[in-house]
């Protein structure tokens, strides 16, 4: 369905791009009020211990020290740090400070002082005695008989009825069965049964977590924070500090990247309580090492996958059992492991589907939301097994995917079975251009020239691999976004919304949607977002929801305002609304005899007759989560002597519905792809035997730089999603899921060796090659 749009579908310049390129002070650290106090945290040096005593008297007497917070002097409220819909599907297992520490990097006490140096010195003067407990450092040990119980405090509970067994270190369980995977495996012409595993990784936003809180003149507290979820911050801080929501105002200015890690409420309680108790602004920014250790990570997941097929290549069964390591707290534990199943299992039609997901506690860093959200982890299993199964059948893996993937008009029982903490929502696929993605991507990478591994010789061998992907767009019947629009006398509009731009460009994209629906230009839309005092509610930026969900709220609101404009214009032109048409910020009689500009209309409504403010507010919830689809292709070169893998070329063909802003959609894809490549090849957490991360620095945790980057080619394959604003779905998350399987499959195509565990460092690849 082709439609002509003036603003949507055009790569208008991101509205904040020049301000950012000119270095304007727009980030949290740039806005800290003068005279702010500084926070330093004493972090646990032990993986698992009880605090038997804590003596802060020396620290408190040190120069500049204003306040020391610890478990003895703060409210004890069980909560989750996960910024999710309320009540959350994550367990309430966290306290602001506790008398127990559960991982190296857990909070012990916070010092608030005049300078960071004074705060750091005082941290060193806090005396803590610990009763060191046995630690669980391997997720396989978590639910063994006699394993130490990590959450043994009585207050811990789940706020919604979901399986939760803290006495067994089980943070979450989920599952579903359609038909019988065992029967399918027994009856299959070909079948495979393997275990795959993905590793720890961090989001590494260039700006670490940072926030300040400031007492306002009206006695309230303003929190300015680098967050993806300002409204969840307000609710959760009110909950943990036991103060009314109305006491708080939360503002998100520009933020230096999020990728999921800022869907977590990690600093705001300390700065807010600090500001309340001292009456001064309080500022806290994580160091890079703290970001690695004490922020959130990608849950490592081990996936046993079974697949069955007939000899002509029809999938008859798929069974997935996931063991997720949620670390010391259950933040996003249930939903990430659930999404490992719910986002990848519907990709291939199958009469028999089995899924279990278990998330266990360990005394290791805490998992959280990370772009891709479980699907990144399970895509390694599904897409590598599909490749292997096709090979076993003697089929081209590309043809195998084309034969089995879900299509427009089809549904999957998985949609209904797996929701987020409750049953899912049934949906049939609207738009799906996966077939075109696969074909166009294959052509671009040169799929035909990939050859067979057994014919490749020599030290350096090249190979090509692919992966097919799907994600979702918003969490249906859970998430809500709202927007309000008011008109100004020059014909411009204030667009106020709770939606949260992390640098993704959502302010621009949503501004484009408003401009299109109002038949005006983007420069007439003044976007202001993410301020809990000023803008309507929005759940925030996660679950690939902003364009699809908040975008619909914006469009609905703009359409209501458009009607109001017509009504005023009709009275000005003394005619019926039906005689009028809007174009280019003008309202004209269809017969061409008279017209008024938006500025005339707004001015008239303010000053002339029947005065009123033209403006409205709309909310939106979704009843579907239409998946974007994508096909990724990687060409790699493997040095068989050293195991080093180099990505030579990468192609990502993506069906995100209508790309509201094609350049920004490409940018999302390229950024996600490179993050995925770097996750696949170099990023990893190395722990010692006591659970201490050994490489908490960008010196030793390698993310890709410009020189490491292969050429990345994005192909946008347009489709039209009827339920989305101007046909849009989502684009932000899906792109990170491709590199791990596409690269693993390319390594196989180069060397004939299959990899089942990430990352694919030179060492792991070399070992796999040595073992053959």
């Amino acid at each position: 369905m082709k439609r002509k749009h003036q603003v949507v579908g055009h790569s208008v310049r991101k509205i904040d791009a020049l301000s950012l390129a000119c270095g304007k002070p727009m980030f949290v650290p740039d806005l800290v009020p003068p005279g702010a106090l500084h926070v330093k945290m004493l972090w646990s040096p032990h993986a698992h211990a009880r605090i038997t005593s804590i003596d802060t008297s020396v620290a408190e007497a040190m120069p500049g020290v204003k306040l020391v917070l610890h478990h003895g002097n703060v409210p004890r409220v069980a909560h989750t740090t996960a910024g999710q819909g309320f009540p959350e599907p994550s367990p309430y297992d966290t306290f602001m400070f506790d008398h127990k520490v559960r991982f190296v990097g857990d909070r012990v006490a916070a010092v608030i002082a005049e300078t960071p140096e004074q705060a750091a010195a005082a941290v060193g003067a806090i005396k803590v005695e610990y009763d060191i407990l046995e630690a669980v450092l391997d997720p396989h040990d978590a639910d063994r008989e006699g394993a130490p119980v990590i959450h043994d405090q009585p207050e811990t509970h789940v706020p919604i009825p979901v399986p939760y067994e803290p006495e067994k270190n089980v943070a979450a369980r989920v599952g579903m069965d359609i038909g019988s995977i065992d029967d399918a495996m027994a009856a299959a012409d070909v079948s495979l049964d393997h275990t795959y595993a993905t590793h720890y990784a961090q989001h590494v936003p260039m700006e670490p977590h940072v926030a300040f809180a400031e007492p306002a003149n009206d006695g309230r507290i303003t929190i300015v924070t680098s967050t993806q979820v300002p409204f969840h911050v307000r609710r959760i801080i009110a909950q943990t500090l036991e103060i009314p929501v109305r006491q708080l105002r939360v503002i998100k200015p520009r933020i230096g990247g999020g990728f999921g890690v800022k869907q977590e409420i990690l600093l705001e309680d300390v700065v807010a309580l600090g500001a309340i108790r001292t009456g001064r602004p309080v500022y806290w920014k994580y160091t890079r090492a703290e970001e690695f250790i004490s922020a959130r990570t990608r849950h490592p997941i081990e996936t046993r996958l079974r697949m069955a097929a007939t000899k002509d290549g029809v999938v008859t069964g798929i069974g997935m059992d996931c063991l997720s390591n949620t670390g010391a707290y259950g933040s996003h534990a249930l939903t990430v492991v659930c999404n490992a199943g719910s986002k990848m299992l519907p990709l291939y039609r199958s009469p028999n589907i089995h899924f279990t997901g278990t998330a266990v506690y360990t005394n290791l860093p805490v998992g959280g939301a990370y772009r891709g959200y479980g699907a990144t982890q399970s895509s390694l299993a599904v897409e590598c097994m599909v490749d292997e199964l096709a090979e076993k059948l003697g089929m081209d893996p590309l043809q195998f995917r084309l034969k089995n993937h879900i299509r427009s008009g089809e549904t999957s029982p998985v949609f209904r079975a797996l929701g987020e903490g409750k049953a899912g929502v049934e949906q049939s696929i609207g738009s799906c251009k996966l077939e075109q993605c696969i074909k166009l991507g294959a052509k671009e990478i040169g799929w035909r020239r990939r050859g067979r591994p057994e014919n490749k010789k020599g030290r350096y061998r090249t190979g090509i691999g692919m992966a097919a992907l799907m994600q979702g767009s918003s969490i249906p019947e859970i998430d809500m976004g709202a927007a309000s629009i008011k008109m100004n006398e020059d014909g411009s509009f204030n667009l106020l919304m709770g939606a949260t731009d992390l640098g993704t460009g959502s302010d621009t994209v949503l501004g484009q949607i408003a401009a299109e629906a109002l038949s005006t230009t983007i420069d007439k839309i003044l976007v202001y977002s993410s301020d809990t005092d000023m803008t309507p509610f929005d759940v925030g930026a996660y679950a690939s929801s902003t364009t699809y969900l908040s975008g619909s709220a914006v469009r609905n609101c703009a359409e209501k305002v458009r009607k109001q404009i017509l009504k005023v214009a009709a009275s000005m032109l003394d005619c019926k609304v039906g005689e009028l048409a809007i174009a280019d910020a003008m309202v004209a009689k269809k017969d061409g005899t008279a017209s008024v500009s938006f500025a005339d209309v707004a001015t008239h409504s303010m000053y002339a007759s029947d005065q009123h403010q033209i403006g409205d507010m709309s909310s939106h919830i979704t009843h579907k989560s239409p998946p974007p689809f994508s096909a990724h292709f990687a060409e790699v070169e493997v040095d068989t002597w050293t195991g080093a893998v180099k990505v030579l070329n990468y192609v990502a063909a993506v069906d995100c519905g209508t790309a509201i802003n094609p350049k920004l959609a490409e940018g999302q894809t390229e950024g996600g792809v490179l993050n995925g490549i770097s996750f696949a090849l170099t990023e990893d957490y190395r722990f010692n035997s006591r659970g201490v991360m050994q490489n908490a620095s960008l010196m030793h945790y390698k993310i890709f730089s410009m020189r490491d980057k292969p050429p990345i080619k994005t192909i946008l394959v347009p489709s039209y999603e009827k339920t989305g604003p101007f046909g849009a779905k989502s684009v932000s998350e899906i792109c990170i899921n491709g590199p791990i399987p596409a690269i693993a499959n390319a390594i196989y195509n180069a060397t004939g060796v299959r990899l089942y565990r990430s990352p694919f460092t030179a060492e792991t690849v070399w070992r796999a090659l040595a073992e053959g």
Partner: protein
């Protein structure tokens, strides 16, 4: 013991008091030059880049006192929203600015290169910007914006 230094910052001669342990990044931010970001404070990310006598320096590693007698520039001096420098304009137009946290430093590194070598190859460009990490863009649009700019200068 504080030290007095004189230097030129963004075109203005300044005499400043600095502590011997103060880092250049801290001095810059203290002076209100908030384009100088501190992404890691350990010399790894490049977001704190400034130009000292035309050469890029990680200001989180350099001591403030080390710029005594030198000329320091940040993006605040390179362009404004009304009159952006061509690099700022190119990055904005190409969709290369996502969160923007890395971008001021990227602009300065590109400026250093293009001042010396207005027509770099893509490889020279990539090598030169290697010390500036970006987690949002995958560098693709940054590279294409700058290469287009380099190409344009070739035409002139």
């Amino acid at each position: 013991m504080n030290r007095t230094i004189s230097c030129t910052i963004n075109g203005t001669e300044r005499t400043l008091e600095v502590e011997p342990s103060e880092k250049l990044s801290s001095l810059m931010r203290r002076l209100g030059l908030k384009s100088v970001k501190v992404g890691c404070n350990e010399g790894c990310c490049g977001t704190c880049t400034v130009l000292v006598d035309g050469r890029t320096v990680y200001s989180c590693l350099a001591y403030a006192a080390s710029v005594d007698g030198r000329n320091v520039r940040t993006v605040e001096h390179l362009g404004s929203i009304d009159r952006p420098n061509p690099i700022q304009q190119a990055l904005a137009d190409e969709g290369a600015v996502q969160c923007g946290f890395c971008i001021p430093a990227m602009v300065l590194s590109a400026e250093e290169l293009l001042e010396k070598n207005p027509r770099p190859t893509a490889d020279e460009m990539r090598k030169h910007l290697d010390g500036n990490l970006c987690r949002c863009t995958g560098y693709e649009k940054i590279e294409s914006a700058l290469m287009k700019l380099a190409g344009k200068e070739e035409d002139v």
